[in-house]
Symmetry: C2
Subunit: 658 residues, 2 copies
Amino acid sequence: SVNPDLASERQTASFSVEKLTALLDGGAEQTRIRRAVVEAIESDPVFSRENQYFQTQNERYEAAVRKAVHLQKKMHEMGWTENGPEYKYIYRALSGDVAFLLHRVFMRSISVLGSDKQIAKWIPPATQHQLIGSYAQTELGHGTYLQGLETTAVFDIATQEFILNTPKISAMKWWPGDMGRSATHTVVFAQLYIHGKCYGIHPFIVQIRSLQDHSLCPGVTAGDIGPKMNFEHIDNGYLMLKNVRIPRDNMLSKFCEVRPDGTYVRQGSQKINYFTMTTVRISLISDEVLTPLMKACTIAIRYSAVRRQSKLKPGEQEAKILDYQTQQEKLLPQLAAAYAFHFINDYLQKLFDRGYREIQRKNFDMLPELHALSSGFKAVITHHCTAAVEICLRACGGHGYSLLSGLPSLYTKILASCIYEGENTILLLQTARFLIKCFMAASTGQPVPPSVTYLAAVKPEKCPAKKKSDFLNPDIYTEAYQHVAVRLISSTAAKLQDLVQSGVKKYDAWNQCTVQLVQAAKAHCHYITVKNFAETVEKLETKAGIQRIMKHLCDLFALHGIFSNTGAFLHDGYVSAAQMDMVTASYLDLLAVIRKDAVPLVDAFDFTDKSLNSALGSYDGQVYQRLYEWAQKSPTNKMSPAYERYLKPLLHNTLSKL
Amino acid sequence: SVNPDLASERQTASFSVEKLTALLDGGAEQTRIRRAVVEAIESDPVFSRENQYFQTQNERYEAAVRKAVHLQKKMHEMGWTENGPEYKYIYRALSGDVAFLLHRVFMRSISVLGSDKQIAKWIPPATQHQLIGSYAQTELGHGTYLQGLETTAVFDIATQEFILNTPKISAMKWWPGDMGRSATHTVVFAQLYIHGKCYGIHPFIVQIRSLQDHSLCPGVTAGDIGPKMNFEHIDNGYLMLKNVRIPRDNMLSKFCEVRPDGTYVRQGSQKINYFTMTTVRISLISDEVLTPLMKACTIAIRYSAVRRQSKLKPGEQEAKILDYQTQQEKLLPQLAAAYAFHFINDYLQKLFDRGYREIQRKNFDMLPELHALSSGFKAVITHHCTAAVEICLRACGGHGYSLLSGLPSLYTKILASCIYEGENTILLLQTARFLIKCFMAASTGQPVPPSVTYLAAVKPEKCPAKKKSDFLNPDIYTEAYQHVAVRLISSTAAKLQDLVQSGVKKYDAWNQCTVQLVQAAKAHCHYITVKNFAETVEKLETKAGIQRIMKHLCDLFALHGIFSNTGAFLHDGYVSAAQMDMVTASYLDLLAVIRKDAVPLVDAFDFTDKSLNSALGSYDGQVYQRLYEWAQKSPTNKMSPAYERYLKPLLHNTLSKL
C-alpha cells in the first residue's frame, strides 16, 4: 500500500508521467526496451544488490566477478548483443555493480591502437574471456600529465624484445581497475627507448598473471590498492615491473612501429584516436553522473513528501518537509538541473555523433571545439551533479546519513567522476584556452566555431527586464547568461594581455589568470546549458502538459543560476539591483509552482525500487517500515565478542581492579 | 628522512612555528600538557588506529569498546581525572574513536534533570560502570521537533509505575549511540500522560538489558540501526517499548514531579537547563569540526608540496601542485578559515563561560543572544568546515579518494555535524528570528544585546576604498561585511512586514522569507567572524612574525568571503565594480604571499602522524612509499575465493558452454 502522503502527490500531477518518461528515453519504444532489460536483470537473483550496504570490500569484489561471469550467460540467453538496442541499458540496470569494465577498455584500446594483425591475435581470445585485460596508464606519481609517466620500455635488438621496468616507486602503476586481483593481461603505457633515445609514451600488451594458475608472472609485482571511498567492488590495482620482457609484436602499432633493426616509424593520423579519448568524457555523463543525480532526487523528494516535521500553521498536523521553502530551495533546483543536464547531454551526444561522421570523412575541423566542449561539460556537469547529490543527502537529515538511504553510496561514487577521466580544474583550463583563442580570433574578425560565435556578436548593455515576469522570458535570461560569459572571457583575455605587455612571462601570466579562466569556462558552459534547455522546451509538443512543466523547470534552472551567482550578473550593471530583486521574487515563486509536481517529476525518471536500493525512496513511501526491516538484517545485529571480552567484565566489575 | 620538497618549505618559514602552536593551545604550558596526553595515548598499542581503514563495522565497534574499557585503566594509571587539565585532550588524542560517549550524556542528563535523590542513586554506579547508559530522544519519525515525539509514558496510580510504549513504528527510538549493542539503561524521552491528560515530553530512566547476561528486558526490542556513512565504531541503536513498567521514581524530577496521587508539579527554573543544551552546540565545534578541518588542511597542503604535476615553466622540472594558482585558491582559503574559526571558537567559549556565571547568579538576560549565537555559529561553522574538508579531499585528486589518505573518513564524519545537535537550516532560522526581533527593537530605539548593536548604528553608504591595498585594511572589509549583514536583515524584515500588511498570515509570510532569512543569519555570523579575527590579530604580540602572518590570513579569509559572494556586496552599490576588481586583485595577490608559509602554517597545528593517520599527510612527506606499504596490508590482498569459483572456470572455458 502506498503511503497516503505520497499517493496524494501523484493525484494532482499537471502532466502525463508516462509521456515524460518516453520523452526522456527518446521514444516509447526505447522505454519498452529499457524496461524489458531492467526486468530481466532485476528478476535474476544473481544480480541482486539487496545486501550491498552490509558487504565488505572483499564480498563486493566477489559479487562483482560473479555478476560479470553470469552476465555473459545472461546476454546469450536473452539474445542481447554489443550492437543491439538493449546493450546500453544493461550497465545502468546493474547500477554499474559488475567487474571487468576495464576488460572492455583493454579491448577497445587494442582495437583503436593496434595493427590489424594485433587485433586479429588478441580480440578473439579477449572476447571469449580466455584472458582478462586491464589498462595501466596512471602511476603513483602521475595522473593527468601523461608525458610525465616514468615506466620504461627499452628495445633490445638482440632478442627483439621490449624490457619493461618501473624505475622508481612513483612510476608504479596505480588505480587500474580489474588489475588488483583479476586481470591476466594489461596495456601498459611506458616511455619507449631505442638505442638510449626516448620516443615518448607508447602502449604495450603485458601479461601479468599465469593463465594456468593465476600466479604473478616473473618480474611482476601486483596487488590491490586497498580501501577507497566507493568502488569497493572494483579491484583497482598496483603493478611494478622488473625486467619484464615482451615480444616486439606487443607494442600496439597502428600509429607507431619499431622495426626489427630499431628504426622507429610513425604512420597514419592519430586524430581519430584523440577524438575517441574525447568522447569517453561525454559517454560517462549519462550513466555515471545523470543517473545518480536522478536517483538522489527521486529518493530525497519522495522522502520529503512523507516526512513530516514541525508545524507550518498553528493547530494543524505537522507539515511535510517538502512544504518548507528552504527544503524546496534545496531540492527543486537539483531536479531542474537533472533535466537541464539530460537535455544538454542529448545535445552533446548528437554533436559528437556528427563529429564522428565528419572525422571519418577526414574532416578534422570540429576537433578543437569538440575537445573544448567535452572537457568543459565533463567538468561542469560532474561538479554540479556531485554537489547536487550531496544536497539531496543532507536534505534528508539523519536518515540520509544511513547507508540504507542509498544516498551516501550515490555521493561517494559520483564524487569520483570529478577526478577520473581528467581532473576537473585541468579540464576547465583546457576549455578556457580554447575560449581565449576564439575570443582573440573573433575580435579580429576571424571565423570561430559555432558554439562560440556569440563572442563576436554585439549585445545590449543592459538587461531590458521591467517586471518580475520578464525573467520568465527565456530570451531575457539567456542573454544575461551570454553577457556574463562574454564579460568573463573578455576581461580575462584583457588581463592576460596586460600582464604579458607589462613584461610577465606568458606561462606566469597564464598561471596568474587561472582562477578567473576557470570562472570563464564555467560561465560558457552554463550559458550553453541554459540556451539549450530553452531551445529544447520551445520545440516540445504542447500536449499532455509536458511543455508547460519543462518550461517551469527551465526557468527555475536559469533563475537559480542567477540567484546563486548574483555578483556575476550585477558586476557591470547588466542586471540592476532592482532587477535582481525581481529575479529573486520570480525564483522563489517558481519553487512553490514546481513543488506541486515534484513527485510526478521524479516518478518520470522511472526507477524501480530495486534500482534505487533505498529505504527512503521506494515508490510506496513506506520509509520507516523499510528502515527497520533492513536494519535488522545488518551484521551488526549478530552476537559480538565484545560482550564476553569487555562489557561483561566491566559491568561485573571483574576487570583487574582499577 | 624528510622529502626534500617538504623540507625546503620549512626552511623559509616567516614565523616561529612553535610560538604559533602555543598561541593556538592558549600557552606553552597547555602545549606541554597536550603533547604529554598525546604521547601517552599514542604509545599505547590498545589505542592504535593503524588498521582502521581495513576494518568492518563490527571490528570498529569491538575496538571502540575495548578502547573505552582500557581508557578507564589508563586514566587511573596516568592520574588523569575528569576535572584535570589533561581531560580535554584525551578525546582528541583518541580521534573520537572510542565507545560509551553516550554514557557521559546519560550521566549528565541525570545530573542536570534529576533530583538530588536520583543523582545519589544513579551517578555512583554509572561512574563505576556497573551500568552503561544511553540517551534515547530521537525517533524514526522525529528529530529536531521534540514536541512531536510519540513515545508514551502513562502513569498507573495503582502500581505507582509509568507504562512506556512505542505506539507506532515512527515512534521507535532511532540513532541513540551506545544503544544498539552496549547500553543496559537509557534515558527515554516520552509524552507523559496522567489520567488521560498529556503533560508533554519528560525524561525517564529505563533499563533495557539485563545486568546479568545482557539479554533484552521484557517488552524491550532493541538493536543496531546498521551501516552509516561513518561512525562505524558507534552502535547507534533502535528501541521499541511494549508495556514496559518503571517505578515512579524513574522520571527525572528536578523540574517536574508526579506525586503518588497523580498530581503533576512543576518546580524550579529550567532556564539553566536550556542553557546547557545550548552550550553543547558550542562545545562540539572544537573537537568535531575544527580538528578535522585542521587535519584535512595539513594532509592536503603537505601533499600539494610534494606532488608534482605538469610544467609551469617550459624546460623546468614538473611543478609542485601548490604552485598553481588554482590549487592555492582551493586550499589556502580553507587554511585561513581554520584559523578564523579557531579564534571565533575562543571568543564563543569565553562568552559562554561568562554566560554561565551570569546564569548561576540568576541573571538570564544573556540567554536569547547566547542561544542565537550558538545556533548560528554551529550551523555556519559546521557547514563551512564540511565544505572545506571536501575541497581538501578533491584537491588531492585520485589519492585523496583512497581511504588511506585519511580524507574520506574526515569528510564522512564531519558531514554528520551539519545534521546532529540541530539541523543547520533550522538552527539558522532560529538565529534569524532573533535577528529580526533585534532589528525591529533597534529601529524603534530599544536596547539590544551587544552582538547586534551594529544593527542600530549609522553607517556610510559606500565603501571608501580607493586602491587595492585599501582592501587589506580590516576596517574597510569589516565594515563591508557589517553593511551586508544589515542590508540582508533589514530587507528581509521589510519583506516580512510587507507580506503581513498585505494580508498574508504571519506563519505563511515567515515561510515565504525563509530562504532570505537563512542568508541574513549567515551574513551576521560571517561578519562577527571577520570582526573577531581582525580584533584578535590587532591584539597579538608583534614578535616572531606571528602577527604578520595572522594578518595575512585574516585578510585572506575576509577577501575570500567577498570574492565568493560578490553579489551580496555589489547589490546596492556599497562596493562598486571597480572596487570589486581591487578585491579580486588583492585576494589573488594574497594567495601567492600565504603560499610561502603554507606548510609551516599547517605544521603549527602540531598533529602527529598517528593522529593524522594519513598516507598523504605525514610529517616526512614520503607519500608514495607509505601508500604502497599500507595498501599491501589491505584484506583485499588476501586470497579470494573468486578465483576458484568464477575466474578459473571462465578463463579455462569450463563454464557450462554459453
